[in-house]
Amino acid sequence: MSVSVQEADFDVAAEIQAVTAGRCDIGGLAVFIGLVRDLAERADGDPPGSMTLEHYPGMTERQIEEIEAEANVRWPLLATRVVHRVGRLEPGDRIVLVIAASAHRAAAFDACQFLIDWLKTRAPFWKLEQAGDAPGRWVDARASDEDAAARWQGSPPTAG
């Protein structure tokens, strides 16, 4: 279990290598990479939008560690890794990396999806979208993210 919250981009190959190096018990590695999409509502001619990710230092890492611990209780995992970027990001940039390793693929897939679903509804990050000189727009929480998190049986109700 390992969490990093950082401004710098992450090296996917190095992160995978760190999880798998020197071991022969991992049968399946599920990896999720979240990327900044171009602003959906941008009209033709508008400047490309950037995104700024704010977070709550300390609580963020603690929440993600709890989510990782929960995943390790639910599935027979051999390793998990979460890296989440903060600060200013441009379209096409990577935002988040989730890795889950297990002897078999089903647990790896389920845990990886669980980690990103719970991270999206529980880890204290906030996205501000900005296009050119326009004032930023804080991204709204999505009901679909709540639904995705809620489908994991036994998940406690959303905090707050």
Binding site: G34, I95, P124, F125, G160
Partner: protein
Amino acid sequence: MHIRYFAWLRQRVGVAEETVAPPAEVGDVAGLLAWLKARGAPYDTAFEPDAAIRVAINQVYARRETPVHAGDEVAFFPPVTGG
């Protein structure tokens, strides 16, 4: 007691953090919110809608009825949108 605000709530309040000393009868999150709002602008309208305001005490999610104490770090913020 140290208060922190994030995202649009931080922008509305105008500061990222502040230290406050509510009176002894402020015993839980709901009481703290009411006391903050009673201080007037910008607090009186910053926390709307109430259902959108999440709270954490000492970096752990809390509820309106969770007790607050003098040395706590209390954070208010909108629903999270990371990932």
